[in-house]
């Protein structure tokens, strides 16, 4: 019996080893394949940014002659007999020389001359030669684009809407979330369900009467319709903050109460300091929402002095029949920068914040 047992374990050993090796190989294969797939996706993610940066740095001529190249550059020319001729790097018997193309010939060929000695002519195939191009970056596009419309005004309006609104949202949602998380009352859970159900309500059902209301009190075409409602809490942020407040131990409240703190003091000195990550999360989400919002500014803001960046940029694009692509891309890039910078500064908040708001619902 003992002998057969030993035999069994012996024959199992190489099997396990082989399994381990094949597992390792599998893992390696899987990692390689995944990285390959993810890299392909990364091209799709990153290319638009590259394209936007490159286009924003080109001038009108480069846009016309070389709309596809990613590097903003222009073709070097050299003056020959009073005319600017394109300069090429030609390869003659393994020696590379810079020569100018002065005339095209049938069959895709052209006459090249040495700029220093124009009488020396060589006929070569054009596509086999490389054009001499130098990097030609037009940073001034950004200033030009910014000055082409009152973007300073748009920026001030956008910042006002974003930050005053954020203040109102944080203030009201903290108070309401505190009410929903810390106090027992007969109807409070029903009210909370009612609050949650407003997430499902399409915006359009309330928007028209709200517009008419704001028009009657003279608030249309001011920033107020975009700011004031923020001071009355909203379902998403209250929900998120409440979930977070619920995780803060009640003992902390009780200790503060025993020391004579009233409910507002408990909120201010106990809950809010503990809930800083949650406040940061809803604040950041509010920033990206308000910064990018187009729908409500479009409805409420009519005169140019009240426009936001999003409205100003869209109007700039729709105004010209001949596209000012480099300017549009410059402003678009500038508009994307604050959310991108914020994203990299608070990456973990971003990814965790969505987690809380997304799943627990």
């Amino acid at each position: 019996m003992a002998g057969t047992m030993q035999l069994q374990t012996r024959s199992e050993l190489p099997l396990l080893k082989r399994l381990a090796v094949s597992m390792k190989f599998h893992q390696l294969f899987f990692n390689g394949l995944s990285t390959l797939l993810l890299s392909a996706g990364a091209v799709f993610i990153l290319f638009p940014f590259l394209y936007m940066v490159s286009t924003s740095l080109k001038d009108v001529t480069q846009l016309r002659t070389n709309p596809r190249g990613l590097i903003p550059e222009h073709q070097e020319t050299v003056e020959i007999d009073g005319k600017d001729e394109p300069l090429y790097l030609v390869n003659i018997d393994g020696v590379e020389r810079q020569m100018a193309l002065i005339k095209n010939q049938p069959g895709g060929k052209g006459i090249f001359v040495d700029p220093a000695n124009p009488s020396e002519q060589i006929i070569l195939k054009i596509d086999e030669q490389k054009q001499v191009e130098t990097l030609d970056v037009h940073l001034e596009n950004y200033a030009e684009a910014w000055d082409s419309a009152p973007f300073n005004t748009y920026l001030v309006n956008t910042l006002l809407i974003t930050f005053v609104g954020m203040f109102g949202m944080l203030l009201s949602c903290s108070l309401v979330a505190y009410g929903f998380s810390r106090f027992r009352a007969r109807w409070i859970n029903t009210l909370f369900l009612l609050l949650l159900s407003t997430i499902m309500l399409p915006r359009q059902v309330t928007l028209i009467p709200i517009y008419i209301l704001f028009q009657k009190i003279g608030w249309v075409d001011t920033l107020l319709p975009l700011i004031v409602p923020q001071f009355f809490a909203n379902a998403y942020d209250v929900f998120l903050l409440r979930q977070f407040f619920m995780r803060i131990p009640l003992e902390l409240d009780d200790a503060a109460r025993l020391d004579g703190a009233n409910p507002l003091q408990v909120l201010w000195y106990v809950i809010l300091p503990q809930a800083r990550p949650a406040l940061l999360t809803v604040g950041i989400f509010h920033f990206t929402y308000a910064w990018n919002d187009f729908y409500e500014p479009l409805i409420f803001l009519h005169s140019q002095k009240n426009w936001t960046l999003a409205i100003g940029l869209q109007t700039l694009d729709a105004m010209y029949t001949t596209p000012d692509t480099h300017h549009i891309m410059a402003i678009s890039l500038l508009m994307m920068l604050p959310p991108i910078i914020l994203f990299f500064l608070s990456q973990r908040i971003f990814t965790q914040g969505v987690v809380v708001s997304g799943v627990k619902g």
């Binding site: 799709f44 108070l175 009352a185 915006r203 009467p209 009355f232 187009f294 694009d317 508009m335 990814t351």
Partner: protein, 336 residues
């Protein structure tokens, strides 16, 4: 008279101070309440900020728009009661049906695609691949950049003549479509754009995946389940609540789709809402046009209410049917 703890009795002076307190009104009434009632009153006080907002910005406007939907109303003159005229008009309005069709077409393309790609991406990025945090960051990045700037960027990348995508297709010998210039391709162009932001869904699925208890996988491994079996018998059932939630919100979101379609319609290549040829006339765009361009508030309110009722019905059906295909952890009945 009731004896107090220290053995003394209530003195007339105390009664006087109580009377004084009663004069102070609400606060006094508050201090006379039982502790439980005080707690409730304080809670309602905090919550009342939202209740006021709910009455002014949600319930009131909802009832008002329900009323407007039965009227002719152009904001300038008073609303005139017209009964069901707006609703009957909607069903005979070819542009209304066009907007429903455009919206459903976009939903039918973008929701399943976003679900499958976002889910698979999340599964991939939940494995121990080298550099996994960097990948997650990269894929999530575009989803924070919604709006005008992103649309203007894609309008140019998908430009039919010199756009980068058609340029790349040409390299493989394919003639690229007209994208936003072609009524047949404008919605697919918007879908391509939405796929750029697929990381938003991915991060939610990823959170769901990380919430699956690992002991389930361990138990399955002990029982000899291979990785495919573990995926179909543990991962997918455990993820159905998240998938369900995302689908419902995605569908509602599609009916509120606005900015990208508006910007593409009124851009340097097109010049009207819904262009080219109404192909991007999403439901919300037609509603916006009726309300804020034609000032036909009654008609637009009817559109809003039809949408609301449809969303309500879909949501109720989805939630009712969810017990058949959504598995909630802790819900043991019906399992096996």
């Amino acid at each position: 008279m009731k004896q107090l703890d220290d053995g003394s009795v209530r003195t007339p002076g105390m009664a006087a101070s109580q009377a004084e307190a009663r004069k102070r009104g609400l606060f006094a009434r508050f201090s006379n309440m039982s502790i439980a009632d005080q707690e409730a009153a304080t809670g309602y006080l905090f919550v009342s900020i939202w209740i006021i907002g709910f009455l002014i910005f949600t319930l009131g406007p909802m009832l008002a728009s329900l009323y407007f939907s039965f009227t002719d109303y152009d904001v300038v003159s008073a609303p005139v009661w017209v009964g069901l005229k707006n609703y009957l008009g909607l069903f005979q309005d070819p542009l209304f049906w066009k907007s429903v069709q455009v919206t459903l077409y976009y939903a039918a393309l973008s929701l399943p695609l976003g679900l499958v790609v976002g889910f698979l991406l999340a599964v991939l990025l939940n494995q121990g691949i080298p550099g996994v945090r960097g990948w997650r960051t990269l894929y999530y990045l575009p989803s924070i950049l919604a709006g005008v700037a992103v649309t203007l960027m894609w309008l140019r990348i998908l430009s039919p003549n010199d756009g980068a995508v058609n340029n790349a297709l040409e390299f493989f010998g394919i003639k690229g479509p007209g994208w936003f210039n072609d009524p047949h391709w404008s919605v697919p162009a918007l879908v391509v754009m939405s796929m750029w932001g697929v990381g938003g869904g991915m991060i939610i699925y990823l959170a769901g995946l990380q919430g699956i208890p690992t002991d389930l996988y361990d138990a399955a491994k002990v029982d000899g389940a291979n990785s495919l079996q573990r995926f179909t018998n543990i991962t997918i059932p455990m993820m159905t609540p998240v998938i369900f939630f995302n689908l419902v919100l995605g569908l509602i979101g599609t009916f509120q789709f606005f900015t990208a379609a508006y910007v593409a319609g009124l851009s340097y290549i097109n010049a009207s809402i819904g262009a080219p040829v109404y192909s991007t006339l999403f439901y919300n765009l037609y509603l916006y046009q009726s309300a804020f361009r034609y000032l036909d508030m009654g008609y637009a309110s009817a559109m809003a209410w039809v949408l609301f009722l449809v969303i309500l019905v879909i949501t109720v059906i989805l939630f009712r049917s969810s017990s058949f295909w959504v598995y909630y952890e802790g819900q043991l009945a019906g399992r096996d």
